[in-house]
């Protein structure tokens, strides 16, 4: 009994020694490979900065539009002044005809047209409904959005004013008239992420960069190993490289250790630099949440990497997926609107659930229990991809021996 127990410890001692040896060796491989460092470090440092710089939130405003004012009255000029005052649009061209304005829009010089017909003020003064025509530029949904926000708001406001004025003329006092014109008042509160587009897109980009660089880097290293080792084996001829579990854990942990500082930079420092919402309960919850994400990406990368014979093949293979993954994350295109198949498929990509959880923790202040579904999914993915890695590694090692 005693002897057997000691034997087990003895054996485990060997295993630990091997494990640490492998981690060290793999870390050496990572940090001496210029190409991998380019992907792991330079891309991770530079890319978020470039994206954050482009998506500057202050500048979504004052979209150029054209107007055609055939009414040319005090009322129409008042309306246009309030339209110009909205943050969304800016009147850039005053055209004499609709055709002229449409020509400008065709050439993308303006991204919307407001046409005020000649009977505009006449109709209002006669207490009949007046119409203004809005021509939306649909080449981008941003144009449409800004135009709709600005025109709806100004028309509603002016309508309320006119209604109140008429009631006051009819003998009501202003306060009563205001209340009567609006039996109840809908009020909108943007509870989370009032910053809009930039602070919505950046968390998605950050998680995706982490995932894609890891996948590409792991593929590159496996390709290099295959190219470099004698007989093109994935595993080097090294006395310490024995036992599949030791090899898989050793390699996986080496990637994990490398990505700890990168993750801290991406998910903690970058949001600070660009002033993104950081409502997370604590940094620890972010870290706890991200552990299974990193593990699942690492094991996914390792299980696919056995198929790369050359180090360069991982870039063409993974690069194009970045955009579909953005859509599969369910942040930009709602989950409910996805076809069933793709909705289910999205969960096998670690970034989908990771983006959901991370973004909700950062921008909505969710705690770990509120993202437990995603957290659990990521752990399941980690376990599943670990088993995949085990299977593909043993397949590859058997083939290498032959």
């Amino acid at each position: 009994m005693n002897i057997r127990f000691r034997k087990i410890i003895q054996r485990n001692k060997e295993a630990w020694k091997d494990l640490f040896h492998i981690i060290g060796k793999e870390l050496y491989n990572i940090f001496t490979d210029k190409g991998v460092l380019l992907v792991f470090i330079v891309a991770c440092v530079v890319y978020p900065l470039v994206c954050g710089y482009i998506y500057n939130k202050e500048l979504m405003y004052d979209m150029p539009i054209a107007i055609v004012d055939n009414s040319n009255s005090t009322l129409s000029r008042n309306y246009l002044r309030s339209l110009d005052a909205t943050p969304e649009v800016m009147i850039k061209h005053k055209c004499s005809s609709l055709d002229e304005a449409k020509e400008l829009q065709k050439q993308s010089k303006v991204h919307g047209i407001v046409f005020i017909p000649s009977d505009f003020s006449k109709n209002i003064n006669k207490e009949e409904q007046a119409t203004i025509s809005v021509y939306n530029d649909m080449t981008s949904f941003f144009w449409y959005r800004n135009m709709a926000l600005a025109t709806n708001f100004t028309v509603q406001e002016m309508g309320k004013e006119i209604q109140v004025q008429r009631m006051v003329k009819g003998g009501k006092n202003i306060e009563d008239a205001k209340r009567l014109s609006e039996p109840f008042e809908p009020v909108q509160h943007v509870l989370y992420n009032p910053g809009g587009y930039p602070s919505f897109i950046l968390p998605i980009v950050l998680i995706l960069i982490l995932q894609q660089t890891l996948l590409i880097g792991i593929g590159m290293l496996a390709g290099t190993a295959t190219e470099r080792h004698q007989l093109h084996t994935l595993i080097p001829r090294d006395a310490h490289y024995r036992g599949l579990l030791r090899i898989i854990f050793g390699r996986g942990l080496a990637f994990f250790i490398t990505y700890i500082p990168i993750t801290v930079y991406m998910l903690v420092v970058v949001p600070k630099i660009f002033n993104l919402p950081q409502l997370m309960p604590s940094l620890m919850t972010i870290f706890l949440f991200i552990v299974p994400f990193l593990l699942s990406v690492i094991f996914l990368g390792m299980s696919i990497s056995v198929f790369f014979k050359n180090r360069e093949n991982s870039i063409p293979f993974y690069l194009f997926m970045s955009l579909p993954f953005v859509f599969l994350s369910g942040m930009s295109w709602p989950r409910e609107a996805m076809p069933r198949f793709w909705e289910l498929f999205s969960h096998i990509i670690p970034s989908s659930d990771a983006v959901q959880g991370y973004s909700r923790m950062m921008t909505m202040g969710a705690d770990l229990s509120q993202v437990s579904v995603e957290y659990f999914t990521l752990w399941i993915l980690s376990a599943t991809y670990f088993i995949f890695t085990f299977i593909t590694y043993s397949w590859r090692m058997k083939r290498d021996i032959k």
Binding site: V39, V46, V50, I54, L59, Y61, Y79, Q105, K106, Q107, S108, I124, E127, Q129, A130, T131, I132, V134, M138, T139, S140, F141, W143, R145, V155, Q156, Q163, R179, L180, S181, P183, F184, E185, P186, V187, Q188, H189, V190, Y192, N193, G195, G196, Y197, I216, M220, E312, N313, I315, P316, F320, L323, F327, M331, W333, P334, E336, A337, W342, M364, Q370
Partner: protein
């Protein structure tokens, strides 16, 4: 041995069928891209987005409001909750995109003319879902409020037209130029599908030239062409130009006949523009590998450059919103020109004479390799860049 373009072409074709990576880059990936984007966004417009209702009044009016929201296309009331905190928790768990709070005594206040508030809470963490639910809830509530106003006015003896003219003195008549159904799929697929095909033409170009350097077969390649760089490059890259052009035209076919997207202008001009964009990206590929004649570094740089194009091209984020210092960089990307072509020709129906600038720009990109051709030739012959 035969020399010239044709032998180079044959040599390349042999390479392309010899290793799976080439088939993957040229056939498998483009088809996957087309399949994904044509099936993923098929709804075009999100509907039945889950929201919650917190009805603290539970009166006949508040129930009526609930029914109206449910009748709308975009939102679906998935939960009926009893407090703000509960609803907020549901939102943080991502079960809902918005919630509406009807306060206590709402109906009583309404009837006594106190103009009570209904507060609806939305979020922009899910940008599209948040905007869509916000817009729909606001529209329905404003309409309902006007409806009550209308009834009160009718009770006082105003006729309906007259009452409507008072409630809504100004009406907006909205025209959606080029995408009347407000289909997101139209807008996203039209750029992303071709955009990813362009990206693959860039990557495959760098790859196929870089591989010659890596495996030191570049001299053989150059000799096959008879020592002429233009011949060597043309013979090598034409098969890719051809395959990606076919894929591009196939994606147009899917978009127009399966997804039903309309093209207002001449579709042949779009084909021409698309093929020129493919060649432009290949030209930039030659430039990158010419400057950095090492497969792995050139590929990494190319990947970095190519993916950023989707951010720079201005269709996810409009160019006018970018910092002035960023704007010139959009010129680095043929995709920007392709996006202009899409706006001008596909949506606005301009003719060639009205929209020649993007074409000239695209042709200019095709001339970029001139700057690196002798450097690349030197590298092909001397193989003087460290391989590993």
């Amino acid at each position: 041995m035969e020399k010239g373009i044709i032998p180079v072409l044959k040599r390349e074709l042999k390479k392309m069928v010899s290793r799976p990576i080439y088939i993957m880059m040229t056939v498998f990936i483009p088809l996957l891209i087309i399949l994904f984007f044509s099936t993923f966004l098929n709804k075009g417009m999100p509907s039945d987005l889950p929201i919650a209702m917190v009805d603290l009044d539970s009166s006949s009016t508040s129930r009526q409001i609930t029914r109206h929201i449910e009748a709308g296309q975009t939102c679906e009331i998935k939960y009926k909750l009893s407090s703000f905190e509960e609803a907020k928790d549901k939102m943080q768990r991502e079960n809902i995109y918005a919630f509406i709070l009807i306060p206590k005594n709402f109906q009583a206040d309404l009837l006594s003319g106190k103009s009570p508030q209904i507060i609806f809470y939305t979020e922009y963490a899910h940008y599209l879902a948040g905007s869509a639910t916000m817009k729909e809830i606001n529209t329905i509530l404003v309409t309902l409020s006007s409806g009550i106003n209308l009834k009160m006015r009718q009770a006082k003896g105003e006729n309906e037209t007259q009452a409507m003219a008072n409630i809504q003195p100004i009406r907006i008549d909205s025209h959606l130029i080029g995408n009347p159904l407000m289909n997101y799929s139209y807008y996203l697929c039209s750029i992303i599908m071709p955009g990813l095909i362009f990206l693959m033409s860039l990557i495959s170009c760098i790859y196929t030239i870089g591989v010659e350097l890596k495996f030191e077969t570049s001299r053989h390649w150059l000799i096959t062409s008879g020592g002429s760089m233009p011949k060597a490059l043309l013979g090598k890259l034409l098969p890719y130009t051809f395959i990606y052009s076919i894929m591009l035209i196939f994606s147009y076919f899917i978009m127009s006949s399966v997804l039903g997207f309309e093209t207002k202008g001449n579709i042949l001009l779009m084909f021409l523009g698309g093929i020129l964009t493919i060649i432009s990206y290949q030209a930039i590929g030659i430039f990158i590998i010419g400057v950095l004649p090492m497969l792995r570094d050139a590929l990494s740089i190319g990947a970095f450059y190519g993916v950023l194009g989707f951010t720079f091209a201005g269709f996810t984020y409009p160019g006018f919103a970018m910092l002035p210092a960023v704007k010139p960089y959009t010129l680095l990307y043929p995709l920007t020109q392709y996006y202009n072509l899409y706006s001008n020709i596909q949506i606005n129906g301009l003719t060639l004479s009205e929209s020649y600038m993007p074409f000239i720009m695209l042709i200019a990109y095709c001339l970029i390799p001139i700057f690196v051709i002798s450097r690349l030739k030197g590298a092909l012959i001397k193989l003087n860049f460290k391989r590993e």
